[in-house]
């Protein structure tokens, strides 16, 4: 019964791994398959494996996958274009043939009625497994322990990065900062935090500099790359819209960067010229606005 419910789910989920574009989705679909498998193990009188499947596979291994995915970049998705000519077609054909052959062959086999594990599991599945594992398979078991230790060391070696320069101290970092300012005029102070002078304090909202321009340095690069950064003029539009709805004709010159008189502070000038988002509504590109409209976390309406 459980099988006929779970089997289609598993097949669909597995097929989904083939077709979803984002790796995170694939990982989640794999989790579905694995948990379903765990349930099937339970059905097949393997309670120990049921637990291990959930704890080790779904719990540890899949988490490891997700962890690495986060490191690599969640948004790293496959491009649709196949680079190796004929690879996809051949893989599909061969895979289908193999699947057909295997399915046909296995469905033709007459295995007879199952013996069942009631007898073998007498005294508890885990106890019986332990009996076998520590008697007949004890050497294999010890070998796997050596394998796991080797794997752990190997992972450490692979992940290890040799430190080539001395670890920077706070004093050296400060000195470097001063040097950068002297040589290239890089901003000396801390980056502006998001939304400090804005009318909004969400992380995707750039900070407004004293001259009223938005500072891209104040938002995460990831957000900028996704195109989900909200621009200050957009907020200004929103505010104007709200004001119009409220029926007020007042306009706040200080809040609108476009109409703000040109005034440049010595400290803010380099940062603003280099890192500003497009300031005028006419020049600001539409797609970021649209996407930000869709994903706006919360409107102060």
């Amino acid at each position: 019964m459980a099988f006929w419910i779970l089997a289609p789910i598993m097949v669909v989920a597995a097929l989904g791994i083939l077709f979803v574009r984002k790796a995170v989705h694939a990982a989640l679909l794999l989790a579905v398959v694995m948990i379903s498998l765990a349930v099937l193990y339970a059905v097949l009188d393997a309670p120990f494996l049921f637990a291990v499947q959930i704890i080790v596979y779904t719990g540890a291994i899949l988490m490891l996958f997700l962890f690495v995915l986060m490191l690599v970049g969640v948004d790293a998705s496959d491009s649709v274009v196949e680079t190796i000519r004929g690879q996809r077609a051949m893989a599909t054909v061969l895979g289908l043939v193999l699947g057909l052959v295997l399915v046909t062959a296995f469905s033709q086999v007459a295995l007879g009625s199952a013996v069942g594990l009631d007898e073998a599991n007498a005294g508890g599945n885990i106890q019986q497994l332990a009996n076998i594992l520590f008697s007949r398979y004890v050497f294999a078991f010890e070998a796997t322990s050596a394998l796991l230790i080797t794997a752990a060391i190997g992972a450490m070696v692979l992940a290890h990065r040799e430190r080539l320069t001395p670890k920077p101290t706070q004093a050296s970092l400060a000195a470097q900062r001063m040097r950068d300012y002297a040589e290239s005029g890089k901003h000396l102070g801390p980056l502006p935090s998001p939304g400090v002078y804005a009318r909004h304090n969400a992380v995707d909202t750039p900070a407004l500099l004293p001259d009223g321009t938005a500072s891209e340095a104040s938002v995460s690069r990831v957000l900028a790359a996704r195109g989900t950064v909200r621009s200050a003029p957009a907020f200004a539009d929103d505010i104007d819209e709200v004001r119009r709805q409220l029926g007020g004709g007042r306009s706040d010159a200080a809040a609108d960067p476009d109409r703000m008189p040109e005034q440049s502070g010595k400290a803010g000038a380099p940062a603003s010229t280099e890192e500003d988002v497009p300031g005028t509504p006419g020049r600001s590109s539409a797609p970021p606005l649209r996407s930000s409209d869709e994903q706006r976390p919360g409107d102060p309406a």
């Binding site: 097949l44 690495v68 199952a114 394998l147």
Partner: protein, 98 residues
């Protein structure tokens, strides 16, 4: 009863296979490998029940252990490659050729 399990196992295995062949994100390829291993495990456990013998479950257990070790090393390698090439695509690491 076992036939269905084994057929399911074969289907999952084949899907994993095709996934390895078609996906290019190394992590997804790796997931497909895991899928294939799990498919095998399912067959092992099913046969254990068919024959009333716990050896199948032991084998599945060992497969899991080996898979864990493999994942650790494999993901470490993927990380290393990503660190140097800024890419997780298996096709990018294709310099070792004719």
């Amino acid at each position: 009863m076992t036939n269905e399990y084994v057929v399911l196992s074969a289907i999952l295995f084949t899907i994993g296979c095709v996934g390895v062949l078609t996906r290019r994100n190394a992590i997804v390829v790796f997931m497909c490998v895991e899928l294939m291993l799990n498919a095998c495990n399912l067959a092992l456990v099913a046969f254990a029940k068919q024959h009333g013998n716990l050896d199948g479950q032991i084998a599945a257990f060992f497969v899991m252990v080996v898979a864990a070790a493999e994942v650790v090393i494999g993901l470490a390698i993927i990380m290393t490659i990503f660190r140097t090439r800024r890419s997780a695509s298996v096709d990018d690491a294709s310099l070792l050729k004719y």
